[in-house]
Structures are given as C-alpha cells and as structure tokens.
Symmetry: C2
Subunit: 138 residues, 2 copies
DNA sequence: ACATTTTTTGCAACTTTATTGCATCTTATT
DNA sequence: AATAAGATGCAATAAAGTTGCAAAAAATGT
C-alpha cells in the first residue's frame, strides 16, 4: 500500500500540504466531489484558487477524472489504476443518486460494447446512471 | 407534420416570439446547443434572461433535455417522442466530437441493459461517447 | 547546509454561467 | 374589449471558474 506522498510523487506532483490533504480527502470519500465541497471542507485553510489549481494538477497528472453531469458544477473522482500508473480506464460507469445527489464510480461495471454509425470513431465512453443508490435504498 | 406553434401548444406552452424562434433554431440544428450559442445567435433580439427562461420552460415541458457533459456550460438538445408527447426516452446515446466539439444525439442507438450491484435502482441512463464524428472523419 | 532554480501559493481582479425580483407587456380566455 | 394568467426585459446578484503577479515553498546542485 502506497502512502499519499508516494502517490503524489508517482504522478510527478510535488508534495505540498494542500495536495496531501485534498488527495487524502478524496480517498476517505467514496463519492465524487466538487470544488465547492472542498472549499467548504477546508474552510479558510486554503485559498479557493489554490483548490482549483490542485484539482487541475490532479486531472492533468491522472489522479482524478471529471464526471460528466448536468448539475452545473464540475464533479471529480479518483482514478483507479491497475498496475500501470499512467493509464486510466475511462470506460467505467458512474452512478448518480436522485435522493442524496451523490455521484460514485462503479468501477466493477464495464460499459458494454456497442457499434456506432458509419464513420464515427469512438475514443472513450462515459455512462451515467441515475437512480437510487444502495445507501438511500432502505 | 406539426407546425412549431402546434408543438408548443401540445407541450402546454404559450406561443411567443422567442419560443417560436428558439424551437425553430433547435429544429434546424442537429447538434446540442448552449445558452451562449443562442445568445450569440439571437444577438440583441432577446434578453439573456429570457433565453434562460425559455430553455427552462422547454426542459420542464419535455421539449428539451440536458446532456451531461464536463465542459462547464449546459448543453440542450431536442427530445424525440414516439407517439406519446409526454414521455421521453432518456436512454439514448450522446456523441461528442473531440475535433469540432459538437454534441449530437444518436437516437437510434439503445443503451445496452446492464445489471447494477445489489440495492441500486436504475431510473435512467445516459451514455456519452467521445471521439470523432462523421462530419470530421474525412 | 546554503544558494539557486523551479514550481506552488495567496490575493486581487475579472470572466463566464446562471438566478431572482419586480414592473411592464403579451397571450389566452371570457 | 376586459380580465386573468403568464412571459418579458432590466437591474442586481449569485455561483463557478480563470488570470496575473509577487511572495513563499519545494526540489536541485554545490
């Protein structure tokens, strides 16, 4: 098991306080997060802009991915790597709960293959399922 | 074939100038549109806020749907109804071209069934495929 | 350990995207 | 033509995201 510091280094990111804490927060949280959530969570500890830049650096270095969504605020979630650090499987399913509004990645579910109309070339796919999540379905 | 006016009435919307023109613009355009695009297209003809409210009323009355996306600006596209005006099949595929950045609905493609983990209840699904569209693939 | 280089951070200002309140005007109805 | 319900434009505000720049912190070389 890698430490948070090692993960940052593996992704060519300098180790700074905000990066340690943001990454750690993502790890302790199975759902996708927005900038607004991080800003609230880290209250006055880090600057808004620095949080934006932390998210951007994580995106660029393959630690996070964006989740397409129609809420207006960008959702970020941790990437899962199997073995190779520098590849990320973009082909998994995201689940958005209509009750609690949380988004999570369903890493185990594969997006089924489907064949596109002529001349369309697929590079990646993103399936967003809406419904009621396990936690809310009681 | 229904006139634009008839379509508005069928969806319980009053017939106004902006609604006629916005709906007509969506019909003449096979791609998804953003508020910004409409604002530019209608220049000083209609107020920004009125355009937002037009989009909202179309969403609420089932004429348009939002397309989940990670661009930051909400994308809207026409709903397709088969027979019943008041149902909309949310289960189709959206295609976003990495070259021209346009989003279109692939109405003919069905999202394959897939089975979720225990206790998850699916209500609708939205598949966004990225790649190169037919127009750009030449 | 110290100086140097490179990158990151915080602050201020700004842009873009979207929403709300309210008076006025338009549509549909009688 | 009068009325009621709903839509529009304008101003203000909120929310989401970006840019420039000087100061601070990390990594690098000696």
């Amino acid at each position: 098991m890698l430490t948070i510091e090692q993960i940052l280094k593996q992704h060519n990111l300098r180790v700074t306080q905000i990066r340690l804490e943001v990454l750690s927060y993502f790890q302790s949280n199975k759902n996708a997060l927005t900038h607004a959530v991080l800003e609230t969570h880290f209250a006055k500890k880090f600057d808004r802009v620095t949080i934006y830049r932390t998210l951007t650096s994580f995106l660029e270095n393959g630690l996070l991915h964006k989740i397409p969504d129609d809420s207006g605020a960008t959702k970020y979630a941790l990437c899962h790597h199997e073995g190779n650090v520098h590849t990320h499987d973009d082909h998994h399913v995201h689940f958005k709960c209509k009750k609690c509004d949380k988004i999570e990645c369903l890493y185990n579910l594969e997006i089924p293959k489907l064949h596109l109309p002529k001349k369309y070339k697929m590079e990646n796919a993103n399936l967003l399922i809406e419904g009621i999540c396990a936690a809310c379905n009681n």
